[in-house]
């Protein structure tokens, strides 16, 4: 489904395109993140699968859940753009990547036609949003203006500068990360589709 051919994933291509955009944008940090991501995805495409046993993965999940609550408080207390924010986030990266790397693996199963329809809706919608965001960024670069064609992050900046906005973002972001690593990563039979 998400394979161009055996071993190579569309995600690698998506990250490579985003790396080029970040280079065009002149953002070394983002270019570093997405180029590293491209390399990691390429390695992942060809490297044999490694799994942590399920019970260990669940145990780690519980501790990471506790850690997420600690991080919620810590991130809220540290001002945005503070260098400690970067230190903690960079320290998190190897942990979350390691957990994504050793998580359980199941071959994609899309037998239900409703899942195919849902997948198409989300892929097409995600592509529209991505194109809009990329276009806003590129046109904004040419216009040399942050405000004429704002990107999502510029639009959200005023919200993120409020306490409630920052807290809501951190909580939602940590919750999504936890779900991505531990909750959605289950054998698909666990989510039933009631008729």
């Amino acid at each position: 489904m998400n394979q161009l051919k055996r071993g190579f994933s569309y995600w690698t291509l998506a990250f490579l395109i985003t790396t080029l955009l970040q280079v065009f944008r002149g953002s070394p940090l983002d270019a570093l993140v997405f180029s590293s991501g491209t390399i990691i995805l390429l390695i992942s495409s060809f490297y044999p699968k490694v799994h942590l046993p399920g019970k260990w993965f669940d145990l780690v999940g519980r501790w990471v859940g506790v850690l997420a609550f600690v991080l919620l408080v810590v991130f809220y207390l540290i001002p945005r753009h503070d260098i400690w924010m970067a230190y903690i986030l960079w320290a998190m990266l190897p942990l979350v990547l390691a957990l994504a790397w050793v998580g359980p693996h199941h071959a994609p199963r899309m037998s239900d036609p409703r899942l195919h329809r849902a997948q198409h809706i989300w892929i097409e919608w995600a592509l529209i949003v991505c194109f809009w965001e990329y276009a806003a960024n590129i046109i904004g670069q040419f216009a040399a203006s942050n405000e004429s064609f704002p990107t999502i992050s510029l639009v959200m900046d005023p919200i993120m500068d409020t306490h409630i906005g920052k807290f809501a973002f951190i909580a939602a972001w940590l919750w999504m990360g936890y779900n991505l690593i531990f909750r959605l990563n289950q054998p698909s039979d666990e989510v039933g589709l009631e008729h």
Partner: protein, 78 residues
Amino acid sequence: MRWVLNINTHLITANIYLVMLFISLAIIFATMDNKNKRVASLKAMMTKVFVTRTTRIAFIMFWWWVGIHFLFATIHHR
């Protein structure tokens, strides 16, 4: 004229993001609990898709980048 999120910027361009947000929420709510029998919920769909290591790493890497982008790096924008 300022737009609803109170940033002095291009009115139409910025508000299109709000429309995008509402469309995303509409898709989520329309498919939640499989009320829409023709389309599966986001969770059911993601659980089926989000199973290979490469997909997982791609999502996690992007998720982490969103965090560092909004919490640390946006001040360096452009």
